[in-house]
Amino acid sequence: MRARCVAYIGWLAIVVALPFFTQPYYMHLLIQILLWSFVYTAWSIMGRFGFVSLGHGAFMGVGAYVPGLLWSYYGVTPWAGIPLGVLVSVLLALIIGYPCFRFRVIGHYFALVTLALGQVIMLSIIAARDFTGGSLGFTLRAVGNSWLALQFVEKTYWYVIALMLWLAGLAVWCLIDRGIGREALDAIAEDEEAAAAIGIDIMHEKLRVTVISAALTAAGGAIYGQYLMYLNPETVSGIAVSLQIVFATIVGGAYTMLGPTIGAFLTILLTEGLRVAFGTNYIGAPNTIYGAILILVIIFMPRGIVDMMQNVSLRAGTLKGSRCRSGSETVRRA
């Protein structure tokens, strides 16, 4: 146990120290990976129980736009704006979640409804173009380094913020994973009617993870917006972002704690690698290859890379003991 603790602290120290030795470009990549990891983890909090939302772009968009607009137009500090954005996202999650869960809209139905939600939020942002800049996007009013405006020129600040956020996301994941509610959620994922029959309050459990997931996603969107200082409906909401969130999570592994993080790491490195490789030639080529790889991964590694690697090493006999379905357990052993 002690050896493991030392190892944890050692790794953490390396991760924290990393930015002070890297170039800005790699720092930018690291920050992106951490922020997206946070968002992907937030998605997996509900996704791992089979509540597949294809509309998390909606929560991200609301989370990013509310504080951005409030600051730029009314000078409201993001310290108030971000909680407000999170609150609006939570309300949105309740508005969409309540009827869905009340009338047992599950599986394909739920996925399609949420997909439409993401698109509708994007269209609303575009429709309010006088205010939000529409499809052209919207640049936050810049004031240089300021804690009040949550704007920093140096990337080091953002690195630390992103790191904290990511750790907080993992902590929430663990809390839910260890909590009593998880058994209930597993039961719901397995068979809703049976779960209801043994007295599980399905509505309560489902709404709980949905609200948590939406709130975290909105917070991730807010920090992402603050970091980039530029919001565009296509890049923070809409189908593309919603699907990107689900893909990366599934590719990494939605059922383990670090799966979404690994998904973020791999997909961002892949997209960046392809982008750099193609430069400005062949616009569309990087995403074509990316899409093809996604399809192949989903066909051949349906439970994600983390899970597959564990299976491979299990088969090779390098891990002792039987495979445990608890996420935290498997990650700890991996």
Binding site: L54, P99, L115, Q119, A127, L243, I283, T288, I295, I298
Partner: protein, 284 residues
């Protein structure tokens, strides 16, 4: 009544025809194979590009270009089923959703690679028909008529032919169909081809009215999904009716405010209706 509002309503009905055709195709695939093609609207995009390429760039006659587009998209649909859906029929529903979602990325990016992000149109002006004070685009009228013919043809096919009966039987009871001497896999391939062919037909009809660009699928896709869910996924008649309800909301909403807001309105309406008819408009 306001003449422009009347025009909006008529346009709504005309748009509804094409949407109904698309909802029919998606419902057919879902009902039989139990998979939702997230990239369904992007098959339409592919079909529109085929029509554009053959008609506007290569100068083929329009009907021939349309036939090639329908057949081409049908073949694409078979490829989608054989290459993507068939290997993962047994895995979790989310994986099937996502695999076709990956296809959405792939098709949109591939179209960007081939054609760039420019908006392209056929450069074809069909005459405007004047009825009293109302102007009706004959392209839309043609699209509506063709969509209805397509829908009736599919209905007759499902009712009158052996394969059609087998398709309906599979949608009703997947487990028993093998015992009746029907090869499931063959029916799946045929259904994919028909579903995709409907997307191809819609593509021809939409190409007459709209510019084609790689992301046009995003305009129609979510709308078709809402229509199918509202009608009850797999319920073809429900989807048909829902298509006209939605096209009316879009048309009338667009008349009073902007197009984007009319989509928002349609979505709000959809949420309200979910409370009233959660299993589809035709199911109490």
């Amino acid at each position: 009544m306001d003449i422009f509002l009347l025009e909006a309503i008529i346009n709504g009905v005309l748009l509804g025809g094409v949407l109904a055709l698309l909802a029919l195709g998606l419902n057919l695939i879902f009902g039989v194979i139990d998979v939702v093609w997230i990239a369904y609207a992007d098959l339409v995009m592919c079909g529109m590009y085929v029509v554009y390429l053959l008609y506007a760039a290569l100068g083929w006659p329009l009907p021939l270009a349309c036939i090639v587009a329908v057949v081409g998209v049908a073949i694409l649909g078979v490829a989608v089923h054989v290459l993507i859906i068939a290997p993962i029929l047994g895995s979790a529903p989310i994986n099937q959703l996502l695999a076709t979602g990956g296809l959405l990325f792939f098709l949109q990016s591939f179209a960007t690679l081939l054609f760039g992000t420019d908006f392209r149109n056929l450069g074809l002006r069909l005459p405007i028909i004047e009825v009293g004070d109302i102007y009706i685009s004959s392209a839309r009228l043609l699209a509506f008529a063709m969509a209805l013919i397509g829908a009736v043809a599919i209905y007759l096919f499902l009712r009158r032919t052996f394969i059609g009966t087998a398709i309906r039987a599979i949608a009703q009871d997947r487990d028993i169909i093998g015992l009746m001497g029907v090869d499931e896999r063959r029916i799946y391939v045929i259904t994919s081809a028909i579903g995709a062919a409907l997307a191809g037909l819609s593509a021809c009809l939409l190409a007459l009215q709209y510019d084609v660009h790689p992301f046009i699928g995003n305009t129609f896709g979510p709308l078709i999904f809402l229509i199918c869910v509202l009608g009850g996924l797999g319920d073809m008649i429900g989807g048909f009716i829902a298509a006209f309800i939605f096209s009316q909301i879009i048309a009338i909403g667009g008349y009073y405010s902007s197009t984007e807001l009319s989509y928002v309105l349609a979505f709000a309406f959809f949420i309200v209706l979910m409370f009233v008819r959660p299993r589809g408009i035709l199911v109490r």
